[in-house]
Symmetry: D2
Subunit: 151 residues, 4 copies
């Protein structure tokens, strides 16, 4: 179970400030491992909303999480300030893999790195739909090595 | 069950910015009523920490919540930004009543107002202890009508 | 700030078993004060669903919380089992006050007692609506001293 | 991004009943993806406590999560009852990989499957320590294919 070193801020494309909460600290006095996923969710959906790609109440297409994961490199805890770095790691017909690094206060090395895969589905039927061109362009802009344009 | 009108920012003494999270929105599409208490907890303890009155990991005296409450005047939801206004409403030998207003984005009228009463206890024995002079002075500074000095 | 003694199981009408979670314990090693409200919410809505009075996804009338509160008498913590006792304390034209006692494991005296007031509203417009006769009868059945029938 | 079919109850060794909560449902009307990790945490630590391997308040050795993950196969939501199946997937000198399946109500196929890796550390120094013989024996008992005894 050896592990690669954590990434740095240079490994991410956009950044979002996030707050911790008092109750995030568990009995061990640090951010409970579950909270990192609440931060991932907030960072990605916040970026989607700010990019005009999601209205939580009304969008006919929504992203459902089909897989997620996190590696924890260092402890964080309330009242730390957290910066989430975002990038897109893979982009399919109806799915997109967001990768997130969580940086504690001024640290350059990530305290935790994770991902989640959103499948775009029709809000009512929950059946997968193709990612639209505007979203695709925005997601490509978050890739470290965007795919070469076709044609 | 008639209700007084909600307070305004002028009714509070200090202010702290707070974030909402994606999962704060419940099935009704708004901030679940429980979340407001997580925001109260975060605002009050954050102020205590910044004021030098609490180290969550090491303080020999801690504040335990013995009563709390909230009136909800308007809906909020992620991705709203929230500002918490704080004041102290009562100050006893070992207890202090914090009152908190939550303001949605730029609203001047509180979306929710609540309180919680902290009893200062010894961290190990959980027995009440008298509030120290530094904390008492800081709490008095958060009162709208501070008690007149004695003597 | 003197306080009445906590109620007992005899003060409640129906009971629901509730679980605690690992992350409910905060840095002080006990159930964070916020969690009690998540338990209230779960106990009351669970009773409403089981009584056939609420379908969270489709009911045209929903209950929104306009006020809540809790008094904490004793610490609880994961992995405690909790029993929630429920009663209705007041019943108005469109509002109902649920009162909840949380009992730790086999304790007869409540570790915490709280309430929340639901206003029945139209799901779309969020305007208050009169509580229907089936719900009113069910709520009356949770009162310790039900109102005498009229006429 | 093709995916293997979800496991069944036969793929797990022990089972623990878990409850959902009202606020677990997010704006999409289903269990938010974060909640699954709170259930993992609760199932694993509950088993550790019941097995006499962990006292959250006093154990000199604790397990810290260094990696976790989840694949989501089907939606769940409050008021579903959940059964967590547990097994141990790998056992190292100081680390153990717990694998968890979450089963919705009476379903035989998992709605979600995940894992987390606990590293045993000294509570004070947070340095890895070797898993003791009692814990090692208990963890081996949760493996589908326990390692052959040496000698």
């Amino acid at each position: 179970m050896s592990r690669p070193p954590p990434g740095t801020r240079a490994d991410y494309r956009v950044f979002r400030p996030l707050q911790t909460r008092w109750m995030d600290n568990d009995i061990y006095g640090h951010l409970n491992n579950v909270v990192h996923y609440a931060l991932f969710d907030t960072a990605v959906n916040g970026w989607l909303i700010d990019a005009g790609l999601l209205n939580p109440a009304t969008s006919p297409t929504i992203g459902l999480v089909v897989e997620s994961g996190c590696r924890y490199a260092a402890e964080m805890g309330y009242p730390d300030q957290v910066t989430a770095g975002l990038r897109v790691g893979a982009l399919g017909r109806s799915s997109v893999r967001f990768e997130i690094g969580l940086f504690r206060n001024d640290a350059q090395s990530a305290a935790a790195e994770g991902f989640f895969i959103h499948v775009h589905v029709d809000r009512a039927t929950r059946r997968p739909v193709e990612i639209g061109s505007a979203a695709r362009a925005a997601f490509s802009g978050l890739m470290l090595d965007p795919p070469a344009p076709k044609g």
